[in-house]
Structures are given as C-alpha cells and as structure tokens.
C-alpha cells in the first residue's frame, strides 16, 4: 500500500487528460440523452455517489494511511445534516445545505479522528467502528434528527439549485455528476498541493514526517476532516439523488465495508482507482445477476443464483488481489502499458530527457 503511483509523469498526464476529456464529454453529452431511466437512476447515480464516497475514504485511507471502517456513519451524517438544514433553516439554498452538511460530517469526522493521534492499523480501524455504531444509534435514538418521523425514515427534499429543480432521472444524474466532478477536481488539487504530500508522508513514515516538520496532528485531523467532508457530500447524493429516502439502518457496517472494498479493489491512493472500484462494485454484481438469470434463471431460483454469485464475487476478489494486490487500476495500467508505450514513444522521449 506504500508504492501507489502519484500522478506526475508527463506522458501519463497527457494520456490521462485525453481520457478524462473523452469521459466527461460522454458523461455530459451522450449519456443523459442515450441512457435509459434504469441506467441513470439505478446504475449511474449510485455509482457516482459511491465513487465520491470512495474518493473521500481514499484520501484518508489510501493517501493518509489511516484505515477507517466507519465511512457509512459519515454518509449518514451528511444525509441527515442536509435534511435538517433544509428543513429547519428557511429558504436555505440547497447548495448551501449541501456544503453545510459536508462541514458537519467533517466536524464529526475530526471528532472520531482524534484516536488516530494514538492508534494505528487495525486498532484504529476497529476504533472507527465506534463512529459507525454511535452515529447509527444516535440517529435512531433521537427522533429530532428525522423530524420525529415515527418510522425514523426521512424523505428527501427536491434538488433545487438557483431555481432549477433537478427532478427526473436525468436531472438527478446531472446534479450528481456535477457534484462529483467538482469535488474530484478539488480533491486532486488538494492532493497535488503540499497537503497531499503531507498525507503520503504521514502514511509512509510518520517519524520522518514529524522530524521534517509536517504538522502531524493537524494533518491527521485534516485528513479525517476532508475525507468526512467528501463522504458526507456523497451521503447527500446517496440519500437525495439516489434513494430519495433514508433510514439509519441503510448506513450499516456493510456499507462501510463496501466503500473500503471499493478503494482496495480499485487501488489505494488512486483517484482513478476509486472510480474504477466503484464501477466494479456497482456494475459487476448487476451484470453477474443478469447473466446468471439469463443463463440459469429457469433452473434455479433467485436465491440460489444470488448465493452462487456471492461465491463468484468472493473468488474474484481473491483472484484479483493475487493477480495485482495494488488493485484494478494497477492491473489496467500494467496491461495498457505496452499499448500506450507504442503510441506515445516519441512523446516519452521528449518529456523524459
């Protein structure tokens, strides 16, 4: 987990830039028109929310090296905070409550990040479970958070920004996409700055970082804060753009593991990895179940198929880790390397010498 690539080399950057441009054009220009409601509402929107959450966790775990098993708690904090801002502060523009929700999540994150000043590794990981259970408990316990709704379930307000309401599958998708793109850009800027270097320094060698003058305390808490901020915003997307109703039980431990899973499968300390991991996490089980149903649906019931699928996914995770412990992104890079090399040989000479 220490030798993850840092996006610097010139050649890769240009190739990356091109790829990103193509992706963005497709995401904004093609998919909204070509995608079905199902694709947008049930695949892409949750994918975006999870990718953002994974990005947030990646900052903390992948870059700053602090393992957290409590991401779902920060998703929940974000979702419930946005709901309450929206509900209790009149005429508050939605964007403001979005950012405010992120900040609440960040504050809670910093609070639960305090143990990281003393703890490391799995000890820290397990202690973040305190956040997981505490937040879920508090949201269930205190009716105030869900506006005393008897069932504890809250309904999402409409997504409206500057008078435009993002309703319908396309609107919600575009809204999520924009939030994700902006957050990702900001995250990239952060990672390219000294703060990003400090994160990695912290992860790779805490003592050396301290001696050099990296402010450990501030950096750790910042990592928790920024990470929770992003995860909190992802929570808003998850709750308001995707599910449009949430209950505390939805933010359970499985969800936290799911997010951790995304960044490890995708590749720690890689933004592209987080995206790839999220795509894998969301799309792959769907594909697998569709495939299973199509091929074997007549023979077995959905339960049997589902269990077989679990086995397949489990085996795939292990297989992938064996093939490339640094995650999907490293695998992709490795496989793409010869091809890229062929195309960009002249370029690589000029930038490297």
């Amino acid at each position: 987990m220490t030798t993850a690539a840092h996006p610097v080399a010139g050649r890769r950057l240009t190739a990356n830039h091109l790829g990103i441009a193509v992706l963005l054009t497709a995401a904004y220009g093609v998919i909204p028109f070509a995608g079905s409601d199902y694709l947008l509402d049930a695949v892409l929107t949750p994918f975006l929310a999870l990718a953002l959450a994974a990005l947030g966790l990646n900052l903390l775990t992948g870059y700053a090296g602090q393992v957290s098993l409590g991401s779902a708690a920060f998703l929940a904090v974000g979702a419930y905070a946005a709901y309450n801002f929206n509900l209790r502060v009149h005429e508050l523009p939605f964007l403001v409550s979005l950012v405010a929700a992120g900040r609440v999540a960040a504050a809670v994150g910093v609070g639960f990040g305090l143990p990281s000043l003393r703890l490391r590794g799995f000890y820290l990981a397990v202690s973040t479970l305190a956040a997981q259970f505490f937040v879920q408990w508090a949201l269930t316990k205190f009716g105030w958070f869900s506006n005393d709704s008897p069932s504890g379930v809250i309904d999402a307000p409409p997504l409206a920004v500057a008078g435009i309401t993002f309703s319908g599958a396309v609107g919600r998708y575009l809204f999520s996409l924009t939030v994700v793109v902006i957050s990702t850009l900001l995250a990239i800027r952060l990672l390219r700055s000294q703060v990003g270097r400090n994160f990695i320094a912290l992860r790779d060698n805490e003592t050396a970082a301290k001696v050099i003058g990296v402010p450990l305390l501030r950096t750790k808490l910042l990592a928790f804060g920024v990470s929770s901020f992003i995860v909190g915003i992802a929570g808003v997307l998850w709750a308001f753009a995707y599910l449009r109703t949430v209950e505390p039980a939805g933010f359970n431990l499985d969800r936290s593991f799911g997010i951790l899973f995304i960044i490890i499968i995708g590749g720690l300390a890689s933004i592209r990895g987080a995206v790839l991991g999220a795509a894998f996490m969301v799309v792959f089980p769907l594909l697998l179940s569709r495939l299973g149903a199509a091929l074997l649906g007549d023979i077995f019931n959905s339960g049997v198929l589902e269990m077989s699928q679990r086995i397949v996914i489990g085996a795939l995770i292990i297989g992938l880790l064996i093939a490339e412990p640094r995650g999907l992104i490293a695998l992709v890079d490795r496989l793409a390397e010869p091809i890229l090399r062929r195309f960009s040989r002249p370029l690589s000479r000029s930038t490297q010498s």
Partner: protein
C-alpha cells in the same frame, strides 16, 4: 393478456427465512390461479424475482429495472425500508404498493397516500390488538388498571414506531408501562432481561426482529420469566422466531393476521394442484402452512381479488396500475367471500375503502406448542376509532410537508 408482479424478494442474507416463506407462498398462490383457473378470468399472472437481500438500494434497483414491464399489477416488497423508498416512485408511476402487515402507519390514510396499501394491519392497530388481547386474558379492559407491561423493542425505527401508541394506551387503560430497547441485532440481552426481572411485569411484549426473538425467549428462560406471558408482535410470530429457542419457546404467544397450518381448503388446493404438478416454490415442503408461507398465500388472495374486482369495472384484460389501485380501494372480502375462497379461518375479512387503505383487518393470537402454532384467541378487532384521528393527523402533516392535496370522496376515483 397478462398481469405482471415484480417481486423484490430476498432469499439470501439474514432475513432469507422470512423472504423464502412469504414469496414462496405468494408465488404458490399465483401458480394456483394460473393452473387451476387459467389466470384471473383468463388473464395470466406472471412475475419476475429480483433478489434484494432486504437491502433498500437493491430493492430500488429492482424497481427501476422491472417497473417498465408491461402490465405491472402491484408491488409487494415485504420490507419497510424498500417500501419507503418506493412511495414517491410508485405514486409518480401510478402503481399500487402493497405492504401487507407492515409499512407506514399513516399510509392507512388513502386521502394522502392514494397508492399505498398497508393491508390488514399497521403498527398502531397491531399495538391496539395486542393490548386488547391482554385485556381479554385478564378478563376485560377494566382489569388492565394497575397491571404492568414491558415492551421490549428492536433498536430501529421499526422497533420504536409504536412507542407513543403504547404510551397513549397505557394512559387510556391505566396500566403501567416500561419500554426497553434491544440494540440491533439483539444477540445479547442479558442486561435487558435482568432489568425486566427487576421490574416484575405482568406481560412482556416482544417487538422483535430476526435473531432478537429467539434470544429474548432464551434469556427470558434464564431469568425465569414465564414464557406464556411474553406476547410477540407480528414480526415475532413465525416458526423462525421460536425454533431456535427450543424448549424455551414452548407456551409463547404471538399476534397474527393469518393463522398457520395447512388444513385450510386453499392450502390443500395449493398442495394438490401446485405441489402436485411439481411447481411448488418451497424447497422444504414442511414449511407449507408456516406463518410466512400463509402470509404469502393471503397476500396472493388479496392481490388476485383486487384484480378480479377491478376487472369487473374495467374489463377482463391487462389492467394498468391505476386500475388495479381502484381494485384495491374496493377490496371488500366479507367472511362469506373468504370462505368461498377456501380461506375460512386462515384470515378473517378485509374492508378497504378509498380512504381506509388498511381495511380493518382482524387479528388472532397463536401459541407455540413446541412443533406448531395453535390459535388461542378469537378474531380480535383493534380499536380503529381510537387510532384513526392519530393516523389522520400524521398523514396531514406528511401532506403539508410534501405539498400533497388531500383527496376527498368527490375526487375522481381513477383517471381513465
């Protein structure tokens, strides 16, 4: 012509036992109608399952995937979380959402929730039904005064939903009340039961879920609380809840809207026609007639009858979701009709109207005998009149929050 049921089933994960029973029963009944009657007046019933593992987002995915199928009759998720996530969606898509025995209490108010049907029972009427049963055991409502009831509830929104109603009923009948939470999943309840032992209540109401139930019964035995004074709610009333507790569960009583057992004619027909043709859905035939299976059967009856009623108005063809909704809003099955359907004793009756989407289901109580449930009470009526204003108030608040115009009886029943 065909009428389609998208099924958000769950056959894997912690709640798989309930899911396989319920969806098994539902599918068994649909099969029965297809095989025996060739469908509902010639309209074939079809379905497709999507596994949700009881997870909301998977349920939503299945919704988005199956909603555009032609001839969707109704959604039956048997999951509070998934049901909640669907309310907006089905209202927009104008398809009924059936949450038999569960779901949002205030969706009983059809004036605000035109497409949601918490058939037979909602959490409030369940509560009232349980208190009425206790009263009957004590020999009348007046005997409740001075008694002590502890409610042991699951630490989730579901578990907490009835807290205020128990309080109201305690005030009304003058019994003293203590409500104790068991955090999810509830596999350790030592401290709760020690508190109960200290409180020395007359009854404990178990508002449990999943593994919490057998553990409660086991722990009750450990602290010496008499099991026949523990009364289970509607999610604590199945074989799955008692079998793991072994002997500790013998004598436990629980509420139900549908009796268990396979002796009812409709079940006999299912066994003969469906299982006889090798099309039975349950892998383990011993589970035929179990609580969840019978709930599935009853749910099947209610859905099919709603379609039948709607067909009388709109014609014997594939109906739209909105037309099926009309059928549900006129789903009135009196005991005679229930008997004609072969379900006498299985469930009592239902009487859904445009504004009462629950339909005044009656409840009964069963006692676990170690291998099977035995009905130990009459069909009891909850105190609907007492509950209705509370429900209306809550529904009105929802309407206000969501800018929903409250429907009146003059509003056109269906846009045709």
């Amino acid at each position: 012509d065909e009428q389609f049921f998208p099924l958000q089933s769950y056959r894997v994960g912690p709640y798989a036992a309930g899911g396989t029973g319920f969806f098994g029963g539902f599918i068994d009944y649909l099969n029965l109608i297809n095989i025996r009657d060739g469908g509902v007046n010639g309209v074939k019933l079809t379905w497709e399952e999507g596994e949700t593992q009881y997870e909301v987002e998977r349920g939503v995915e299945v919704y988005e995937r199956l909603k555009s199928h032609t001839g969707v009759a109704a959604w039956n998720p048997l999951s509070v979380g998934i049901a909640y996530a669907m309310i907006d969606r089905i209202t927009k898509d104008k398809v009924p959402l059936i949450t038999v025995n569960h779901g949002r209490t205030d969706s009983t108010d059809g004036r605000v929730f035109p497409y949601v049907f918490p058939l037979l029972l909602n959490p409030y009427s369940e509560t009232s039904g349980i208190v009425n049963y206790v009263a009957s055991r004590e020999g009348g409502a007046d005997k409740l005064k001075g008694k002590k009831i502890v409610v042991l509830y699951h630490g989730s929104p579901y578990g907490k939903e009835t807290i205020p109603i128990y309080k109201l009923l305690a005030d009304k009948y003058g019994f003293s009340l203590e409500q104790i939470e068991v955090p999810h999943p509830g596999n350790e309840q030592q401290s709760q039961w020690l508190s109960i032992r200290r409180a020395k209540p007359d009854y404990v109401v178990l508002r449990g879920w999943g593994v919490m139930n057998p553990v409660a019964l086991k722990t009750a035995q450990k602290v010496g609380f008499p099991v026949d004074h523990i009364i289970g709610n509607v999610w604590s009333n199945s074989e799955e809840d008692v079998i793991p507790a072994g002997d500790a569960a013998k004598g436990y009583v629980a509420i139900t809207t549908q009796a268990s057992g396979a002796e009812y004619p409709v079940l006999q027909e299912v066994i003969k026609t469906v299982y006889g043709a090798g099309k039975g859905n349950l892998e383990d035939k011993k589970r035929i007639g179990s609580v969840y299976h019978n709930l599935g059967i009853v749910n099947g009856i209610l859905n099919v009858e709603a379609i039948r009623i709607a067909q009388q108005k709109f014609g014997k063809r594939t109906l739209t979701g909105d037309e099926v909704r009309w059928g549900f809003e006129h789903l009135q099955l009196d005991p005679a009709r229930v008997e004609a359907l072969g379900a006498k004793g299985l469930f009592h009756s239902i009487n859904v109207t445009w504004d009462n989407h629950e339909g005044d289901g009656r409840v009964t109580f069963q006692q676990w005998e170690g291998t099977k449930w035995k009905v130990v009470s009459d069909w009891i009526a909850p105190d609907w009149a007492f509950l209705r204003p509370i429900i209306e108030k809550s529904a009105a608040a929802y309407a206000a929050e969501h800018n929903i115009k409250i429907r009146t009886s003059d509003d056109p029943p269906v846009s045709q």
